[in-house]
Symmetry: C2
Subunit: 753 residues, 2 copies
């Protein structure tokens, strides 16, 4: 990912030696001008465009087209002008001493660790700043030594599908940078078998050896110098989820890996892309352009032409497709922000394709019909011109782009993925539940393998349009009897919701969280308020609502609200039990408990209601652990709780003093950019702080009540790194959004001892 | 404090026996009607006024004035009407079986633990709900058996001044309830020596014995029945601070106690009242009324006639004086809310006087000129009538009330208090600093014994009217250069502030906290905003400002702000050093640190500025520990911190998830009232939660850096119970508001092993 400087050591003197030794003047000067360009760009920050301008001028002067190579004389002149540019830009002569060149190149690579691109990369990949970087110095071999030379990249298996045939790209008479940059369109690796059969055969053998050695799919760089193969680099291949799944199942079938080892090769976080929508195969539409299917999945969004615009759109919640002729390291931050990437140049091994696959973003590369004008902010094809902000859809599985609104289809779990999930279910100890608030969510969650609902948020039910007026009536009630009257009208609706969810999930348990948000959230905003509502809203307004009148505090101040909810839950359980003969398992969850007596009072209330209703369901009462104090008194709380569910979102907010809304908007970027933080504590659990609290509460709670059930229902429950932590902390289950359930199943298996 | 039922066991039958045994019909029926009244009121909740009405009717029927006792026949009729009232109110006959009476009385006392009055009392005195109560059953002796009988209260020393002469009140031919209720004005204890010399002499001897036995000033109840003295009760006397201090110094002088034991008799929290203002002795003014000097200190506020009104006024931040004919247990919550208490009836042993002294509130009792009309909400004297809301001033040290605005004078530390503070300073290990933001505060703090400033809040300096426009300019700056320009103008002012404070405090250390509040707090509110300011305010607005862009986060986002402050601090230190020859000791404190790297960056910044300025001061850089995460990583933070100062206010907010603004307004009353909480965690530290964090950080921090200095600068630093905890946790110093410094000195000594 970090910078490379090729051809280092060439000087005005040594280039003559290279020419003499090879008898190839053009080769010598091509290598030297490449070095002059890369050294100036990488080690001294001279913009790449300055060099491109000089190349364009040289072409004009020589009268050659873009597809024709410059001759030796032109390259010599070009090298001279590159050195002049260097002197002008740096105020120093281009170094003539190879040792000085080497020292500067090494320093530049070390420095690049602090650069913006490296910071963006580390951020995306969760790499801590203190790891630092290394510098490799390698002897040069030349892929640009004529038509019996080439440079290329090769994967031990197909890097997009995972199919068990090596794949890759190469460029004859070229150096590696040409292949990766995507500026020239490379040839398919199959072509190498025709052109240099011996090298190709040796490469195939080496790829198989490397795979056996590393036990994983390999991503290599190679150069053929006058027919002789050199391997420059190998690493475990980044791959899209479908390729990862295919590799894992094939590797087990081939006897290369056992199930546990095969599972370990899968980046669980990427599986999300397999659950992304695709274009409905039955839909007919007019393609705007076609290109290489570089990273699977379909995405729809407004056109943006820069990483900055993609980031801006994401911050405002708008979906964007990043459209570029080709991408470079500077664009990486935009990949994360965009829903998909579209380029007019480059192939499957281009920068855009590699990064998009690594990040699970749909990508169409090398759509050559497209004319992208970055200055004018337009993209044209077939006579039509689209501007920034207009909507397009890309299908990275098919390599198609369209301006039409085409229906996207929910992903299905492929047989290979089913196989992998089957291993995961056998290997994991952690159970996986889903967060679901509706029968539809519950159904989807089950299909994806959820073993219950770990968080059913009752407030979402209250926000449905037909209930909002009743909820408003409840909030506006000046007295308890008025409030009870409004609640009585909500009761049957709430019971109906629960019936649907219980039915969809039986016989698995459903954890229902009683009302959590502050009441003012149920009033309309601003101008839509009646004068009485405005007054009430003002009376309910709080300086810091996150830390105010919400959660169990509502239940203590207005017990009638929780009483209605308890009645609806118990009533729904009875109705479902009578209807289906299957008695639902109910976990009633009290949010935001800080004091054991809060839970004690609410437990009494729920049990009283259950007794009044003659409940037949299996009823547990537990609490969310989402405040630091609750962790410290977890023993006292555990004595009256059947379960704890860690609400790691709020635990992160309180332990770190981070209001998520505010911190994500203003602080997090600066903190990550300046190395104070490695990644967002809202994505991956902050182990020293929040993790400490989780471990403490788990330990102290279980000391007091060994059978205490422990779950996690914050967003971290769907994050593989956090799941690994929860498994260590002794948690029984995680509960995440339905379509992260497969990820959690795999991550849980990976975390199992 | 809980309920008493006297004369229990009297029935229609036994009253005749009592009459026969004593030959005193009036006495027998007086005792019986008292029992009927107390039993109905205490055990069955029949309002006291119902009985008072019947008594008034009986007086009218008998044609006797209020000062004359009713005769036997009238009392017999009155008892009958009390029993009829009982039957009417309860639907049951008045119990004729003494066993039934006893059982009901015992049950009532146990039940009273849950009553509103008991809850209010516990709350004020920080008594946990689970302690429960006991019931004493005592043989009855009769103070109403004629003129050779009496009931009274006696203190082993003067209960107001602490002077070493017993004091008290008694009422001849009366029962104890008459003395305490304040309805009849009792006689001074000195009078008892005249009327019943033998009983008086015996009482004096017993008081001295009790004091020697308990090693503390005693508060007793006694009854003389036909010349024979009975002691009913003794307990350590509640006393105002001046009496406590006087007792302590006298007890040491008398050889009764050593210094440590004498200190232990002082309720450190009450010392605050000695530091309350008094009416300037040189001021001349017209008294509106005079009464008993029942609890020292002067106070000024608007007249309120009920506890509820006092509480309402306090919630709105208005000073109130609670004015009542006499007070009862129901009024106790109002004492806490009011600045002072004024009654027209009762003496030094009246309920009002006892409670006011116990709580350190100024009180004037028994101002007989006052005519208080609760229905009309007026108080009149000398032809003038004041209404609720009008302002009065009371002087509880002199027993004077005035309508004029008289100058109040700052309290001086009496020689006795100086003595006590001298002991405290010798005995304590904890150092005591003050929170002070101005040279005047710093000077006052030193006079009160502060050994440095533990918290100097720089934002208060920015809020001064002449700086507000410059601060606004800084907040409005769109770019860093603009912000730097505004800061450059603030620099000399800020430096001037620091010079004054450093000079006032040298050679003690001054801990300066760099800017903490969110920037939008420096913009004017609402309508006063220009359109540009309104836009900026909106851009800066946060969902939960407590957890948002404040503290060190400002320093990271806008380092130029902290840089200016560091420059002003270092510059001021140099200027003061040059001027006075005394080099200030500086502790620069970075607020709201969660990550060690935040502190690292800011420490670098401060040290860079100090190096640039050629600082000559002794400079330490440390942090406030006010987030749970900081406690967990206290070892990492300690490696780059010279000191920790626990900001227990914010630590309470985050650990408990309690936004103080919101929780105090809406939740705390309900929580304390319903027994979820015993007292506000913002007054006394929450040991299981916040205390855990403090202990952890102290331990882990010192493990990493043994010489780490530990302080506390939250409000808990002035609370004796919290100080006891901090001493156990190994804290080096507490820092509180200047006029709580003497309290902290005493509490620190009490906490010393």
């Amino acid at each position: 990912m970090l910078d490379t400087v090729l051809n280092l050591g060439l000087t005005d003197e040594s280039v003559e030696g290279l020419v003499a030794a090879t008898g190839d003047e053009r080769f010598g000067w091509d290598s030297y001008r490449r070095f002059a360009q890369m050294f100036g760009n990488v080690c001294h920050g001279i913009p790449g465009e300055r060099y491109e301008e000089l190349i364009a001028e040289a072409r004009d002067a020589a009268g050659v087209s873009e597809d024709t190579e410059l001759g030796a004389a032109a390259l010599r002149e070009l090298t001279k002008s590159f050195k002049a540019l260097f002197a002008e830009a740096t105020g120093e002569d281009f170094p003539r001493d190879p040792q000085v060149q080497l020292a500067q190149a090494i320093a530049a690579v070390f420095d690049s660790w602090r650069g913006e691109r490296a910071v963006a990369y580390r951020r995306l990949n969760g790499i801590p700043e203190e790891w630092g970087t290394a510098v490799n110095v390698q002897q040069m071999v030349f892929g640009n030594k004529g038509e019996d030379s080439c440079s290329g990249v090769a994967f031990s298996r197909d890097e997009v599908t995972g199919a068990p045939e090596p794949s890759g790209d190469f460029l004859p008479n070229a150096q590696g940078e040409d292949v990766v940059s995507g500026v020239r369109t490379p040839l398919d690796l199959a072509e190498l078998a025709q052109r240099m059969p011996a090298a190709h055969a040796e490469l195939m053998e080496i790829l198989a050896t490397l795979e056996r050695h590393y036990g994983d799919m390999q991503d290599t760089e190679f150069t053929v110098e006058q027919g002789r193969l050199f391997m420059l680099q190998t690493r475990d291949a980044k791959r899209p989820a479908q390729a990862a799944v295919r590799f894992a199942t094939d590797a087990v079938a081939e006897g290369l890996l056992d199930e546990r080892a095969a599972l370990a090769t899968i980046d669980a976080g990427l599986l999300e892309s397999l659950l992304h929508p695709a274009i409905d195969p039955d839909a007919s539409f007019e393609p705007f352009a076609t290109g290489v299917a570089a990273s699977p999945g379909a995405a729809c969004g407004e056109i943006v032409f820069s990483a900055a615009a993609a980031i801006a759109a994401a911050k405002e919640g708008r979906a964007a497709i990043l459209v570029r002729p080709f991408t470079e390291a500077e664009d990486v931050a935009g990949f994360d922000a965009a829903r998909g990437i579209l380029t007019s140049e480059g192939g499957k091994a281009s920068h855009a394709a590699l990064v998009a696959r690594g990040m699970g973003r749909p990508c169409v590369c090398g759509a050559r019909e497209l004319e992208i004008d970055l200055a004018a902010q337009t993209v044209s094809a077939g006579g039509a011109t689209l501007r920034a902000g207009e909507e397009i859809t890309i299908d990275g599985s098919a390599g198609v782009v369209t301006r039409e609104r085409v229906p996207l289809r929910e992903a299905e779990i492929s047989p290979d993925l089913q196989t992998v999930l089957g291993w995961a279910d056998r290997l994991r100890d952690l159970r996986v539940r889903a967060n679901a608030d509706t029968p539809a969510d519950a159904k989807r969650a089950r299909e994806l393998g959820a073993e219950g609902i770990g968080l059913c948020r009752t407030e979402h039910m209250f926000m449905a349009p037909e209930r909002a007026p009743l909820m408003r009536e409840m909030v506006m009630a000046a007295t308890e009897p008025e409030r009870r009257a409004a609640l009585a009208k909500l009761l049957p609706m709430q019971q109906g919701d629960f019936e649907g969810i219980f039915e969809a999930m039986a016989p698995y348990p459903v954890t229902v969280r009683l009302l959590d948000p502050p009441l003012h959230e149920f009033l309309p905003r601003g101008a839509d308020l009646s004068p009485a509502e405005a007054e009430r809203a003002e009376a309910l307004a709080e300086a810091n609502p996150m830390l105010g009148t919400r959660g169990v505090r509502l239940g203590i101040l207005h017990p009638e609200i929780y009483e209605m909810q308890a009645r609806a839950i118990v009533g729904a359980a009875r109705a479902v039990g009578e209807r289906t003969g299957e008695v639902p398992k109910l976990d009633v969850m009290i949010p935001l408990v800080a004091y054991e007596r809060e839970l004690e009072r609410m437990r009494e209330l729920v049990e009283r209601v259950a007794a009044e209703e003659g409940s037949v369901a299996e009823l547990k009462v537990g609490t969310m652990i989402e405040l630091p104090r609750a962790c410290f008194v977890a023993d006292r709380i555990a004595r009256i709780a059947d379960f704890f569910s860690f609400g790691t979102n709020d635990l992160t907010q309180t332990a770190l003093g981070f209001s998520r809304d505010d911190v994500e908007k203003r602080i997090l970027d600066t903190y990550i950019g300046s190395g104070i933080l490695d990644r967002s504590p809202f994505e991956t659990i902050d182990r020293p702080g929040v993790g400490w609290l989780v471990r403490l509460a788990a330990w102290v709670g279980r000391e007091a009540r060994p059978e205490l059930e422990l779950g996690v229902c914050g967003e971290h429950a769907g994050d593989p790194d956090s799941i690994a932590f929860f498994a260590m902390a002794g948690v029984d289950y995680v509960s995440c959004s339905p379509f992260r359930v497969p990820i959690a199943r795999v991550a849980a298996a990976q975390a199992a001892e």
